[in-house]
């Protein structure tokens, strides 16, 4: 079965600084998607960034960027100029093609990010 591993249960960063959250995954798929989701106390999962595995270029969304290393099956999230509103749980996820042929998201255990003023 496919697995996603987030080895950092908790991280902290000073406001305006940069932090990197780690994620590794294990898949036998040749084509797949990778995601970072943010979950604030409201519980709603918010898509932060998405990477298509066949694309070499690392995805970027404003202050959020990824370092996608396909051979190493690594997908880290870098948050630049951290803001207090970035404090949340962050989940890494990858797609797995289920037996029915659809894409199922497999999630890591999450990293809780604290941002200090």
């Amino acid at each position: 079965a496919q697995t996603v591993t987030q080895s950092q249960p908790e991280m902290s960063v000073q406001e305006a600084e940069t932090v990197t959250l780690s994620c590794t995954y294990d898949t036998s798929e040749s084509d797949y998607y990778l995601f970072w989701y943010k979950q604030p106390p409201s519980r709603q999962m918010i898509l932060v960034i998405r990477q298509e595995a066949y694309k070499q270029q690392n995805a970027t969304e404003n202050r959020f960027s990824v370092n996608f290393q396909k051979a190493a099956k690594s997908f880290s999230l870098k948050i630049s100029d951290s803001q207090l509103g970035d404090a949340a749980m962050y989940f890494c996820a990858s797609t797995e093609v289920a037996s029915g042929g659809y894409n199922k998201l497999i999630f890591g255990a999450g990293t809780r990010l604290a941002v200090h003023p």
Binding site: Y37, Q44, M45, R50, G100, Y102, F107
Partner: protein, 112 residues
Amino acid sequence: GAGVSQSPSNKVTEKGKDVELRCDPISGHTALYWYRQSLGQGLEFLIYFQGNSAPDKSGLPSDRFSAERTGGSVSTLTIQRTQQEDSAVYLCASSFLGEKLFFGSGTQLSVL
């Protein structure tokens, strides 16, 4: 509404009671997922619906769990004879193109 709507937001129940959790997906989204998030854990896949196809129930943890989706829209997750280990946040998500999921705010279930 524009997003995925889940109700109730919070549910407290006694052990042994049945509960129903509701999910109203984004209009036009054909795919609907249920996930469970236990305290301090990641999201665990429960069940998937796609259009009129037979659902993928492979993630349901026991036969006390069931779900249906009426008319290809609203879905209800039912847990019978609830146990304390069922306490978790139950998240619903919908999608149109398959790989981009939109989540609701979940139902926090507490079994006393």
